[in-house]
Protein backbone atom coordinates (compact mmCIF):
# COMPACT_ATOMS: atom_id res chain seq x y z
CA UNK A 1 0.00 0.00 0.00
CA UNK A 2 1.64 3.24 -1.11
CA UNK A 3 1.50 6.30 1.16
CA UNK A 4 -1.15 8.13 -0.84
CA UNK A 5 -2.41 10.41 1.94
CA UNK A 6 1.11 11.57 2.78
CA UNK A 7 2.03 12.22 -0.84
CA UNK A 8 -1.26 14.02 -1.46
CA UNK A 9 -0.49 16.37 1.46
CA UNK A 10 3.01 16.89 0.02
CA UNK A 11 1.48 17.88 -3.35
CA UNK A 12 -0.85 20.33 -1.58
CA UNK A 13 2.12 21.87 0.22
CA UNK A 14 3.90 22.30 -3.14
CA UNK A 15 0.84 24.13 -4.48
CA UNK A 16 0.80 26.40 -1.43
CA UNK A 17 4.49 27.22 -1.98
CA UNK A 18 3.72 28.22 -5.58
CA UNK A 19 0.87 30.40 -4.30
CA UNK A 20 3.24 32.02 -1.78
CA UNK A 21 5.85 32.64 -4.50
CA UNK A 22 3.23 34.26 -6.69
CA UNK A 23 2.13 36.60 -3.86
CA UNK A 24 5.75 37.58 -3.14
CA UNK A 25 6.55 38.19 -6.81
CA UNK A 26 3.49 40.43 -7.09
CA UNK A 27 4.51 42.26 -3.88
CA UNK A 28 7.98 43.00 -5.27
CA UNK A 29 6.67 44.15 -8.67
CA UNK A 30 4.08 46.45 -7.08
CA UNK A 31 6.60 47.85 -4.58
CA UNK A 32 8.98 48.84 -7.39
CA UNK A 33 6.05 50.32 -9.32
CA UNK A 34 4.92 52.28 -6.26
CA UNK A 35 8.40 53.73 -5.91
CA UNK A 36 9.13 54.54 -9.55
CA UNK A 37 5.59 55.82 -10.29
CA UNK A 38 5.28 57.67 -6.95
CA UNK A 39 2.07 55.83 -6.12
CA UNK A 40 1.42 56.07 -2.36
CA UNK A 41 -1.80 54.06 -2.45
CA UNK A 42 -0.02 51.16 -4.15
CA UNK A 43 2.78 51.33 -1.56
CA UNK A 44 0.22 51.11 1.26
CA UNK A 45 -1.40 48.15 -0.50
CA UNK A 46 1.95 46.33 -0.65
CA UNK A 47 2.60 46.95 3.04
CA UNK A 48 -0.88 45.66 3.94
CA UNK A 49 -0.58 42.57 1.73
CA UNK A 50 2.52 41.34 3.55
CA UNK A 51 0.41 39.89 6.36
CA UNK A 52 -1.09 37.47 3.81
CA UNK A 53 2.43 36.36 2.84
CA UNK A 54 3.40 35.89 6.50
CA UNK A 55 0.20 33.96 7.25
CA UNK A 56 0.68 31.62 4.29
CA UNK A 57 4.33 31.03 5.20
CA UNK A 58 3.39 30.08 8.75
CA UNK A 59 0.63 27.79 7.55
CA UNK A 60 3.01 25.96 5.17
CA UNK A 61 5.65 25.68 7.86
CA UNK A 62 3.11 24.24 10.28
CA UNK A 63 2.01 21.65 7.70
CA UNK A 64 5.66 20.70 7.04
CA UNK A 65 6.33 20.26 10.77
CA UNK A 66 3.24 18.08 11.10
CA UNK A 67 4.32 15.86 8.19
CA UNK A 68 7.84 15.53 9.58
CA UNK A 69 6.53 14.66 13.05
CA UNK A 70 3.82 12.26 11.95
CA UNK A 71 5.04 10.69 8.73
CA UNK A 72 8.80 10.34 9.32
CA UNK A 73 9.72 11.25 5.73
CA UNK A 74 12.97 9.97 4.24
CA UNK A 75 15.02 10.35 1.06
CA UNK A 76 13.46 12.66 -1.52
CA UNK A 77 10.38 13.32 0.65
CA UNK A 78 12.65 14.41 3.51
CA UNK A 79 14.77 16.56 1.21
CA UNK A 80 11.67 18.13 -0.29
CA UNK A 81 10.17 19.00 3.11
CA UNK A 82 13.48 20.45 4.31
CA UNK A 83 13.78 22.44 1.07
CA UNK A 84 10.21 23.73 1.24
CA UNK A 85 10.87 25.14 4.70
CA UNK A 86 14.06 26.86 3.52
CA UNK A 87 12.36 28.22 0.38
CA UNK A 88 9.33 29.64 2.22
CA UNK A 89 11.67 31.41 4.65
CA UNK A 90 13.47 33.01 1.72
CA UNK A 91 10.14 33.98 0.13
CA UNK A 92 8.87 35.50 3.36
CA UNK A 93 12.06 37.58 3.68
CA UNK A 94 11.74 38.61 0.02
CA UNK A 95 8.25 39.86 0.91
CA UNK A 96 9.81 41.88 3.75
CA UNK A 97 12.21 43.44 1.23
CA UNK A 98 9.16 44.34 -0.87
CA UNK A 99 7.66 46.07 2.17
CA UNK A 100 11.00 47.87 2.67
CA UNK A 101 10.85 49.21 -0.89
CA UNK A 102 7.20 50.28 -0.42
CA UNK A 103 8.15 52.18 2.75
CA UNK A 104 10.90 53.99 0.87
CA UNK A 105 8.33 54.80 -1.83
CA UNK A 106 6.20 56.53 0.83
CA UNK A 107 9.21 58.47 2.16
CA UNK A 108 10.20 59.60 -1.34
CA UNK A 109 6.73 61.09 -1.92
CA UNK A 110 7.72 63.90 0.44
CA UNK A 111 10.59 65.00 -1.83
CA UNK A 112 11.22 66.06 -5.37
CA UNK A 113 11.96 63.01 -7.58
CA UNK A 114 15.53 62.26 -8.58
CA UNK A 115 16.31 61.34 -12.21
CA UNK A 116 17.80 57.99 -11.23
CA UNK A 117 14.57 56.03 -10.76
CA UNK A 118 14.88 54.59 -14.31
CA UNK A 119 17.89 52.59 -13.22
CA UNK A 120 15.95 51.31 -10.24
CA UNK A 121 13.16 50.24 -12.59
CA UNK A 122 15.71 48.27 -14.62
CA UNK A 123 17.16 46.59 -11.55
CA UNK A 124 13.60 45.86 -10.42
CA UNK A 125 12.82 44.19 -13.77
CA UNK A 126 15.95 42.03 -13.53
CA UNK A 127 15.07 41.02 -9.97
CA UNK A 128 11.52 40.17 -10.94
CA UNK A 129 12.81 37.94 -13.75
CA UNK A 130 15.22 36.34 -11.32
CA UNK A 131 12.45 35.61 -8.81
CA UNK A 132 10.21 34.18 -11.54
CA UNK A 133 12.94 31.92 -12.95
CA UNK A 134 14.08 30.80 -9.50
CA UNK A 135 10.55 29.68 -8.68
CA UNK A 136 10.24 27.98 -12.07
CA UNK A 137 13.42 26.02 -11.34
CA UNK A 138 11.85 24.95 -8.02
CA UNK A 139 8.57 23.94 -9.65
CA UNK A 140 10.40 22.13 -12.48
CA UNK A 141 12.83 20.54 -9.96
CA UNK A 142 15.57 21.53 -12.39
CA UNK A 143 19.17 21.72 -11.16
CA UNK A 144 20.53 23.12 -14.41
CA UNK A 145 17.92 25.86 -14.42
CA UNK A 146 18.82 26.65 -10.78
CA UNK A 147 22.51 26.98 -11.66
CA UNK A 148 21.75 29.23 -14.66
CA UNK A 149 19.48 31.47 -12.57
CA UNK A 150 22.04 31.86 -9.80
CA UNK A 151 24.68 32.94 -12.32
CA UNK A 152 22.43 35.80 -13.41
CA UNK A 153 22.68 37.33 -9.94
CA UNK A 154 26.05 38.79 -11.00
CA UNK A 155 24.25 41.18 -13.34
CA UNK A 156 22.03 42.44 -10.48
CA UNK A 157 25.07 42.89 -8.24
CA UNK A 158 26.87 44.77 -11.00
CA UNK A 159 23.90 47.12 -11.61
CA UNK A 160 23.46 47.65 -7.88
CA UNK A 161 27.09 48.65 -7.38
CA UNK A 162 26.95 51.04 -10.32
CA UNK A 163 23.73 52.57 -8.93
CA UNK A 164 25.28 53.01 -5.47
CA UNK A 165 28.34 54.64 -6.99
CA UNK A 166 26.16 57.12 -8.92
CA UNK A 167 24.21 57.93 -5.76
CA UNK A 168 27.49 58.58 -3.95
CA UNK A 169 28.64 60.95 -6.73
CA UNK A 170 25.30 62.75 -6.61
CA UNK A 171 25.52 63.12 -2.85
CA UNK A 172 29.05 64.51 -2.97
CA UNK A 173 27.94 67.21 -5.40
CA UNK A 174 24.53 67.99 -3.82
CA UNK A 175 23.97 67.30 -0.15
CA UNK A 176 20.40 68.62 -0.39
CA UNK A 177 19.28 65.30 -1.88
CA UNK A 178 20.60 63.21 1.03
CA UNK A 179 17.18 61.94 2.13
CA UNK A 180 16.08 60.90 -1.39
CA UNK A 181 19.46 59.31 -2.10
CA UNK A 182 19.34 57.36 1.17
CA UNK A 183 15.84 56.08 0.42
CA UNK A 184 16.86 55.01 -3.09
CA UNK A 185 19.94 53.32 -1.62
CA UNK A 186 17.81 51.34 0.84
CA UNK A 187 15.38 50.38 -1.93
CA UNK A 188 18.22 49.27 -4.22
CA UNK A 189 19.74 47.30 -1.38
CA UNK A 190 16.40 45.53 -0.83
CA UNK A 191 16.35 44.58 -4.51
CA UNK A 192 19.94 43.32 -4.39
CA UNK A 193 19.12 41.19 -1.33
CA UNK A 194 16.11 39.69 -3.11
CA UNK A 195 18.53 38.56 -5.83
CA UNK A 196 20.73 36.94 -3.17
CA UNK A 197 17.72 35.12 -1.72
CA UNK A 198 16.89 33.71 -5.14
CA UNK A 199 20.43 32.31 -5.20
CA UNK A 200 19.75 30.69 -1.81
CA UNK A 201 16.62 29.11 -3.28
CA UNK A 202 18.73 27.78 -6.17
CA UNK A 203 21.10 26.17 -3.64
CA UNK A 204 18.08 24.62 -1.90
CA UNK A 205 16.84 23.20 -5.21
CA UNK A 206 20.23 21.53 -5.76
CA UNK A 207 20.00 19.96 -2.29
CA UNK A 208 16.45 18.81 -2.93
CA UNK A 209 17.42 17.03 -6.15
CA UNK A 210 20.93 15.76 -5.41
CA UNK A 211 21.23 15.75 -1.62
CA UNK A 212 24.41 17.82 -2.00
CA UNK A 213 24.89 20.99 0.04
CA UNK A 214 26.45 23.49 -2.34
CA UNK A 215 27.34 27.17 -2.19
CA UNK A 216 26.54 29.04 -5.42
CA UNK A 217 28.04 32.37 -6.42
Amino acid sequence: MARQTFHQELREIEEAVIQLASLVESEIVRAVQALTQRNGALAQEVIASDSEVNGLQLSIRSRCIALMALQAPVARDLRELVTVQLVINELERMGDHGVGIAKQALTLLQYEPLPMTTQLTEIGALVRQQVRQGIEAFVDINVQEARTVSEKDDEIDHRYKSFVSQLASLLSSNSMVAQQATSLLFAAHDLERIGDRVTNICEDIIYMVTGELEELN
Partner: protein, 281 residues
Amino acid sequence: MSAPQDTFDQRAREILGAEGADAANIRHVTEPVKMRIEDLNVWFGAFQAIKHISMEIAQQQVTALMGPSGCGKSTFVRALNRMHDLTPTARVSGKAILDGENIIENGHDLVHLRQRVGMVFQRPNPFPKSIFENIAYGLRVQGGHSASEVRDTVERSLRSAALWDEVKDRLNNSALSLSGGQQQRLCIARALAVQPEVLLMDEPCSALDPIATLKIEELIEALKRNYTIVIVTHNLQQAARVSQHTGFFLTGNLIEFGPTREIFERPRDKRTEDFITGRFG
Protein backbone atom coordinates in the same frame (compact mmCIF):
# COMPACT_ATOMS: atom_id res chain seq x y z
CA MET B 1 8.33 -22.39 -5.42
CA SER B 2 5.09 -21.16 -3.89
CA ALA B 3 2.42 -19.37 -5.89
CA PRO B 4 2.24 -16.29 -3.60
CA GLN B 5 5.99 -15.80 -3.99
CA ASP B 6 5.63 -15.97 -7.79
CA THR B 7 2.90 -13.38 -7.69
CA PHE B 8 4.91 -11.14 -5.44
CA ASP B 9 8.01 -11.33 -7.61
CA GLN B 10 6.02 -10.61 -10.72
CA ARG B 11 4.28 -7.63 -9.12
CA ALA B 12 7.55 -6.27 -7.76
CA ARG B 13 9.08 -6.48 -11.23
CA GLU B 14 6.08 -4.74 -12.77
CA ILE B 15 6.29 -1.90 -10.30
CA LEU B 16 9.99 -1.59 -9.88
CA GLY B 17 11.32 -2.54 -13.27
CA ALA B 18 14.17 -4.89 -14.10
CA GLU B 19 15.53 -6.95 -11.28
CA GLY B 20 19.12 -6.99 -10.19
CA ALA B 21 21.42 -4.45 -8.69
CA ASP B 22 23.78 -1.96 -10.20
CA ALA B 23 27.15 -2.93 -8.69
CA ALA B 24 27.90 0.76 -8.14
CA ASN B 25 25.07 0.85 -5.61
CA ILE B 26 26.71 -1.79 -3.41
CA ARG B 27 29.24 0.29 -1.54
CA HIS B 28 32.28 -0.93 0.38
CA VAL B 29 32.43 -0.24 4.09
CA THR B 30 35.18 2.04 5.34
CA GLU B 31 35.58 0.17 8.65
CA PRO B 32 37.43 -3.15 9.09
CA VAL B 33 35.41 -5.98 7.52
CA LYS B 34 34.22 -8.72 9.90
CA MET B 35 32.40 -10.77 7.31
CA ARG B 36 32.66 -10.64 3.53
CA ILE B 37 29.87 -12.19 1.47
CA GLU B 38 30.73 -13.13 -2.09
CA ASP B 39 28.19 -14.25 -4.67
CA LEU B 40 25.94 -15.92 -2.11
CA ASN B 41 22.97 -17.89 -3.48
CA VAL B 42 20.27 -19.84 -1.68
CA TRP B 43 17.80 -22.19 -3.31
CA PHE B 44 14.84 -24.05 -1.85
CA GLY B 45 14.30 -26.80 -4.40
CA ALA B 46 14.07 -25.04 -7.78
CA PHE B 47 13.24 -21.65 -6.24
CA GLN B 48 16.17 -19.29 -5.89
CA ALA B 49 15.49 -17.17 -2.81
CA ILE B 50 18.85 -15.34 -2.70
CA LYS B 51 20.63 -14.26 -5.86
CA HIS B 52 24.32 -13.46 -6.15
CA ILE B 53 24.66 -11.34 -3.02
CA SER B 54 28.02 -9.72 -2.38
CA MET B 55 28.49 -7.30 0.49
CA GLU B 56 30.65 -6.53 3.51
CA ILE B 57 29.66 -6.58 7.18
CA ALA B 58 31.65 -3.99 9.09
CA GLN B 59 33.20 -4.99 12.39
CA GLN B 60 31.58 -3.61 15.57
CA GLN B 61 28.94 -1.84 13.54
CA VAL B 62 25.23 -2.46 13.08
CA THR B 63 24.19 -3.53 9.59
CA ALA B 64 20.45 -3.36 8.92
CA LEU B 65 18.74 -5.38 6.18
CA MET B 66 15.36 -4.20 4.98
CA GLY B 67 12.92 -5.00 2.21
CA PRO B 68 9.33 -6.07 1.64
CA SER B 69 8.03 -9.43 2.86
CA GLY B 70 9.46 -12.28 0.85
CA CYS B 71 12.46 -10.30 -0.37
CA GLY B 72 14.95 -12.79 1.09
CA LYS B 73 16.45 -10.74 3.92
CA SER B 74 15.73 -13.36 6.59
CA THR B 75 16.85 -16.18 4.27
CA PHE B 76 20.09 -14.28 3.73
CA VAL B 77 20.79 -13.68 7.42
CA ARG B 78 19.99 -17.30 8.28
CA ALA B 79 22.58 -18.40 5.73
CA LEU B 80 25.21 -16.55 7.75
CA ASN B 81 25.10 -19.14 10.52
CA ARG B 82 24.13 -22.09 8.34
CA MET B 83 20.52 -22.36 9.53
CA HIS B 84 19.55 -23.74 6.11
CA ASP B 85 21.52 -26.89 6.83
CA LEU B 86 18.40 -28.01 8.70
CA THR B 87 16.19 -27.69 5.58
CA PRO B 88 16.53 -30.73 3.28
CA THR B 89 15.57 -28.84 0.10
CA ALA B 90 17.90 -25.92 0.76
CA ARG B 91 21.10 -25.41 -1.20
CA VAL B 92 23.62 -22.65 -0.61
CA SER B 93 26.51 -21.56 -2.84
CA GLY B 94 29.05 -18.76 -2.69
CA LYS B 95 31.14 -17.52 0.17
CA ALA B 96 30.57 -15.96 3.56
CA ILE B 97 34.05 -15.27 4.83
CA LEU B 98 34.32 -14.71 8.58
CA ASP B 99 37.78 -13.48 9.49
CA GLY B 100 39.26 -15.29 6.48
CA GLU B 101 37.29 -18.55 6.83
CA ASN B 102 34.52 -19.44 4.39
CA ILE B 103 31.75 -20.63 6.70
CA ILE B 104 29.67 -21.94 3.81
CA GLU B 105 32.25 -24.63 3.02
CA ASN B 106 31.32 -28.18 3.84
CA GLY B 107 33.14 -29.54 6.84
CA HIS B 108 33.00 -26.28 8.75
CA ASP B 109 32.39 -26.93 12.46
CA LEU B 110 28.78 -25.80 12.94
CA VAL B 111 28.84 -25.81 16.74
CA HIS B 112 31.91 -23.58 16.68
CA LEU B 113 30.33 -21.39 13.98
CA ARG B 114 27.13 -20.85 15.94
CA GLN B 115 29.17 -19.97 18.97
CA ARG B 116 30.92 -17.28 16.95
CA VAL B 117 27.77 -16.17 15.12
CA GLY B 118 24.79 -15.99 17.47
CA MET B 119 21.18 -15.60 16.45
CA VAL B 120 18.17 -13.86 17.99
CA PHE B 121 14.78 -14.59 16.45
CA GLN B 122 11.60 -12.66 15.79
CA ARG B 123 9.66 -14.15 18.70
CA PRO B 124 11.40 -14.59 22.02
CA ASN B 125 12.02 -18.31 22.44
CA PRO B 126 13.30 -18.91 25.98
CA PHE B 127 13.70 -22.50 27.12
CA PRO B 128 11.00 -23.62 29.58
CA LYS B 129 13.58 -23.45 32.34
CA SER B 130 14.63 -20.90 34.93
CA ILE B 131 16.10 -17.55 33.93
CA PHE B 132 19.50 -18.74 35.21
CA GLU B 133 19.37 -22.03 33.32
CA ASN B 134 18.46 -20.30 30.06
CA ILE B 135 21.84 -18.57 30.12
CA ALA B 136 23.78 -21.41 31.70
CA TYR B 137 22.51 -23.99 29.19
CA GLY B 138 24.86 -23.01 26.36
CA LEU B 139 27.82 -23.01 28.72
CA ARG B 140 26.95 -26.48 29.96
CA VAL B 141 26.72 -27.72 26.34
CA GLN B 142 30.08 -26.08 25.70
CA GLY B 143 31.50 -27.79 28.82
CA GLY B 144 34.63 -27.02 30.77
CA HIS B 145 33.21 -24.28 32.96
CA SER B 146 33.27 -24.34 36.77
CA ALA B 147 30.11 -23.45 38.73
CA SER B 148 31.50 -20.03 39.63
CA GLU B 149 32.45 -19.34 36.00
CA VAL B 150 28.90 -20.21 34.97
CA ARG B 151 27.48 -17.88 37.65
CA ASP B 152 29.78 -15.05 36.57
CA THR B 153 28.93 -15.53 32.92
CA VAL B 154 25.20 -15.57 33.67
CA GLU B 155 25.53 -12.26 35.51
CA ARG B 156 27.77 -10.71 32.86
CA SER B 157 25.43 -11.77 30.05
CA LEU B 158 22.34 -10.48 31.83
CA ARG B 159 24.10 -7.19 32.55
CA SER B 160 25.18 -6.92 28.89
CA ALA B 161 21.59 -7.49 27.85
CA ALA B 162 20.42 -4.78 30.29
CA LEU B 163 18.29 -7.32 32.17
CA TRP B 164 20.28 -8.02 35.35
CA ASP B 165 18.69 -5.33 37.54
CA GLU B 166 15.20 -6.57 36.63
CA VAL B 167 15.80 -10.28 37.31
CA LYS B 168 18.71 -10.58 39.76
CA ASP B 169 16.36 -11.41 42.66
CA ARG B 170 14.42 -14.08 40.79
CA LEU B 171 16.98 -15.98 38.75
CA ASN B 172 15.32 -19.28 39.63
CA ASN B 173 11.89 -18.19 38.37
CA SER B 174 10.70 -19.57 35.08
CA ALA B 175 11.87 -17.57 32.06
CA LEU B 176 8.31 -17.85 30.79
CA SER B 177 7.16 -15.57 33.66
CA LEU B 178 9.03 -12.64 32.09
CA SER B 179 7.36 -10.07 29.82
CA GLY B 180 7.86 -10.34 26.05
CA GLY B 181 10.52 -7.62 26.04
CA GLN B 182 12.34 -9.21 28.97
CA GLN B 183 12.16 -12.63 27.28
CA GLN B 184 13.74 -11.14 24.15
CA ARG B 185 16.55 -9.56 26.20
CA LEU B 186 16.98 -12.93 27.91
CA CYS B 187 17.42 -14.53 24.49
CA ILE B 188 20.00 -11.88 23.66
CA ALA B 189 21.76 -12.60 26.97
CA ARG B 190 21.67 -16.32 26.10
CA ALA B 191 23.32 -15.59 22.76
CA LEU B 192 25.94 -13.40 24.45
CA ALA B 193 26.81 -16.03 27.07
CA VAL B 194 28.99 -18.00 24.63
CA GLN B 195 30.76 -14.76 23.66
CA PRO B 196 29.91 -14.60 19.96
CA GLU B 197 31.67 -12.22 17.61
CA VAL B 198 28.68 -11.62 15.37
CA LEU B 199 25.06 -11.32 16.49
CA LEU B 200 22.35 -11.91 13.89
CA MET B 201 18.94 -10.50 14.82
CA ASP B 202 15.94 -11.48 12.72
CA GLU B 203 13.26 -8.85 13.39
CA PRO B 204 13.98 -8.91 17.13
CA CYS B 205 11.37 -6.26 17.98
CA SER B 206 8.47 -7.25 15.77
CA ALA B 207 6.62 -8.94 18.64
CA LEU B 208 7.41 -6.21 21.19
CA ASP B 209 5.63 -3.05 22.37
CA PRO B 210 7.26 0.39 21.81
CA ILE B 211 8.92 0.57 25.25
CA ALA B 212 10.40 -2.94 24.95
CA THR B 213 11.47 -2.03 21.40
CA LEU B 214 13.21 1.09 22.66
CA LYS B 215 15.10 -0.97 25.25
CA ILE B 216 16.29 -3.42 22.60
CA GLU B 217 17.36 -0.56 20.34
CA GLU B 218 19.33 1.05 23.17
CA LEU B 219 20.83 -2.36 23.89
CA ILE B 220 21.90 -2.78 20.26
CA GLU B 221 23.70 0.57 20.44
CA ALA B 222 25.54 -0.57 23.59
CA LEU B 223 26.34 -4.03 22.20
CA LYS B 224 27.99 -2.74 19.05
CA ARG B 225 30.99 -1.65 21.13
CA ASN B 226 31.87 -5.32 21.49
CA TYR B 227 29.93 -7.18 18.82
CA THR B 228 29.24 -7.03 15.10
CA ILE B 229 25.48 -6.91 14.62
CA VAL B 230 23.30 -7.72 11.62
CA ILE B 231 19.63 -6.89 12.10
CA VAL B 232 16.77 -7.75 9.77
CA THR B 233 13.90 -5.35 10.25
CA HIS B 234 10.55 -4.50 8.76
CA ASN B 235 10.64 -1.19 10.54
CA LEU B 236 12.38 1.36 8.33
CA GLN B 237 12.73 3.88 11.13
CA GLN B 238 14.35 1.22 13.28
CA ALA B 239 16.91 0.56 10.54
CA ALA B 240 17.56 4.30 10.38
CA ARG B 241 17.84 4.63 14.16
CA VAL B 242 20.09 1.71 15.04
CA SER B 243 22.33 0.97 12.08
CA GLN B 244 25.41 2.44 10.45
CA HIS B 245 25.02 0.45 7.21
CA THR B 246 21.83 -0.57 5.45
CA GLY B 247 21.07 -3.03 2.68
CA PHE B 248 17.84 -3.07 0.68
CA PHE B 249 16.66 -6.47 -0.57
CA LEU B 250 14.09 -7.09 -3.28
CA THR B 251 13.09 -10.40 -4.87
CA GLY B 252 16.24 -12.07 -3.57
CA ASN B 253 18.54 -9.36 -4.87
CA LEU B 254 20.56 -6.87 -2.87
CA ILE B 255 19.52 -3.69 -4.65
CA GLU B 256 21.53 -1.19 -2.66
CA PHE B 257 23.96 -1.24 0.24
CA GLY B 258 25.67 1.71 1.87
CA PRO B 259 25.92 4.04 4.85
CA THR B 260 22.52 4.30 6.54
CA ARG B 261 22.43 8.08 6.36
CA GLU B 262 22.99 8.00 2.60
CA ILE B 263 20.37 5.29 2.09
CA PHE B 264 17.76 7.32 3.98
CA GLU B 265 18.77 10.77 2.75
CA ARG B 266 19.76 10.17 -0.85
CA PRO B 267 19.53 6.56 -2.01
CA ARG B 268 21.09 5.89 -5.41
CA ASP B 269 18.60 3.33 -6.74
CA LYS B 270 15.07 4.46 -7.55
CA ARG B 271 13.71 1.16 -6.21
CA THR B 272 15.27 1.85 -2.80
CA GLU B 273 13.80 5.33 -2.82
CA ASP B 274 10.36 4.11 -3.88
CA PHE B 275 10.41 1.52 -1.09
CA ILE B 276 11.53 3.77 1.76
CA THR B 277 9.29 6.67 0.72
CA GLY B 278 6.28 4.38 0.52
CA ARG B 279 5.81 4.66 -3.23
CA PHE B 280 5.97 0.89 -3.34
CA GLY B 281 4.63 -1.38 -0.69
